[in-house]
Amino acid sequence: MSEIYDIGYRHYDGPRLGRGHTVLALTAHSLRGVFGLGRPARSKIVPFALAGIMLLPAIVTVAMMALIGQRGMEYSGFAVVMQAVVAIFLAAQAPTVVAPDLRHRVLPLYLSRPLTIVEYVGAKVAAMTVAVFALVATPLVVMYLGELVVDMPGPPATGEFLGSLLMALVLAVLLSAFGLALASFTPRRGLGVASVITVYLLSSASVPLLYGMMVNTGNDAIAPWAWVLNPFWLVDSVQSWLFGTPPHSIESAAYPSGAGSTAFLLVLIAVGLGALALRYRKAAAQ
């Protein structure tokens, strides 16, 4: 064993990196936190179990293509079909990104450094976005690679695949902004989980009900707008407009005008980010 000498206090005269580096480090740190990396094993169970569940349909699809030569799930419909799993992931993991720093008042330790509050929130949103995107995009990539390897008859659905990747990113931004905003208003972790899942359940359960009600009462013109109240169907309607994919709403019901849902999507993202900004302006002043 080597001996330890007390050489007294040493000053640091190495490099002090700029803000880009700091924000990147915070993003990476938060992203690791979402998947429980560098945390005890029990923090990894939920995110990795959910990521595993997301991969199952992709694996089944690849197997179907290989064994019976049939396409299983469409790229464009993947997010909508798997929406419950994505929502649980968001509800379970968004609070781990923002809640501890608020609840245990760690924020002043960040803000007494060159980092600004905008950079802090930006890094958190970026981390959650990357996490949700990875969750949705990984199975898509697995399916696409499977399709290339199996060499199905006809050209591969590259266009649909790339479109679904882009929409996965849009979905990730929307879900992160909203999930983090909700979680930041309820800094107790359990409450954060509950609030995100409640909002999701409301938005998914109410949509078919509203739609059916309006169709039955003869309001056919405004009925399609019910779909935009759920984030997954909202993003799907934008996808349908942008890439001409079939609607993945229940019974393939028609979506409202694409431009309208796109505008609504952008407004929602802005509202989510605005709520976060408001919440953190208050937190920073403390």
Partner: protein, 303 residues
């Protein structure tokens, strides 16, 4: 050279003026900032960190303007908040490494500095365990370590001895003194007890209601009204008589005597008097100043 200087610095909140026309300059070394709770100490520190815009006046920290160069100040300043501010589920090492990177240190340097600093504040093997299981004293050390990890030129310590037992308090104060002398980092430390700052500070600033009450070198404080408390088993009156006869200023306070210290000879006088009378001396204690004493003095000189 001043490490920080304020000029008419003011912070008004809707219902209260937390800092009121404060003009003060601080030299390198250890400076105490004393005031009762709510005197404006924490507000002042937040303004000096560039986190809270002042309502009026100006201030410079490390010769940087607090309004326009806040980020640059925070690069070279460390801050230990008063309240609990540590996440329970990460280890001290992990937290301090992460916060070092938040100060702009590269990964490897952050690791080295964190290990160094945690050793200096006296956290040994426990630094690998989650902070949730730490004692108050250990948590205070982690908070101090994160303020030092990026080798700042100046650190703000907000009530670092809060919640510590007497021994923890002593160790923390010793550490603060070492930071100011051995580490060569200037310190601005707040407390509501003047007595405990007396031991570690070169200079003390007293504020009340956001106003400057007094700013002077520590010597001037202690010389002004140094007293010593004497407690004997019995024969208190005899002792008082003897000391008064010897020219000392004595005032009885319950079962004890408070003797004004005129110089080293006062201690000799107490010792000799007790010995001559054959009294059993229980206590001979230098009185620690309390912030209230300073307020009382200032009030009486003002009248």
């Amino acid at each position: 050279m001043h490490i920080l200087a304020t000029e008419g610095l003011t912070k008004r909140f809707p219902t209260v003026t937390a800092v009121d026309q404060l003009t003060v300059a601080v030299e390198p070394g250890v400076t105490g900032l004393v005031g009762a709770n709510g005197a404006g100490k924490s507000t002042l520190i937040k303004m000096l960190l560039g986190l809270l815009p002042p309502s009026g006046g100006r201030a410079r920290v490390l010769d940087l303007d607090i309004v326009s160069q806040g980020a640059e100040i925070r690069r070279f300043v460390g801050y230990m908040p008063e309240h609990e501010s540590l996440p329970p589920d990460v280890s001290a090492t992990e937290l301090v490494v992460h916060l070092a990177r938040m100060s702009g240190l590269p990964r490897v340097a952050a690791r080295e500095r964190a290990a160094d600093v945690l050793r200096h504040v006296g956290l040994a093997e426990e630094r690998y365990r989650p902070i949730g299981g730490y004692s108050t004293g250990m948590k205070q050390r982690v908070k101090l370590a994160q303020a030092l990890v990026h080798d700042p030129k100046l650190i703000f310590l907000d009530e670092p001895t809060n919640g510590l037992d007497p021994r923890g308090r002593d160790e923390m104060l010793t550490l603060i003194r070492r930071i100011g002398t051995e580490f060569g980092i200037s310190v601005l430390v707040t407390s509501h007890l003047l007595g405990e700052l007396e031991r570690v500070c070169d200079h003390v600033i007293v504020i009340d209601g956001g106003r400057l009450l007094r700013s002077s070198a520590i010597g001037e404080f202690t010389q002004a009204t140094q007293t010593v408390t004497v407690e004997v088993d019995e024969g208190l009156d005899d002792l008082a008589e003897r000391l008064t006869a010897g020219g000392q200023t004595v005032s009885p306070q319950g079962r004890m005597l408070v003797v004004k210290v005129l110089g080293p000879e006062t201690y000799d006088a107490v010792r000799d008097a007790a010995a001559d009378l054959g009294l059993c001396l229980i206590r001979l204690e230098q009185n620690r100043h309390r912030i209230e004493d300073v307020f009382r003095e200032e009030a009486s000189t003002r009248v």
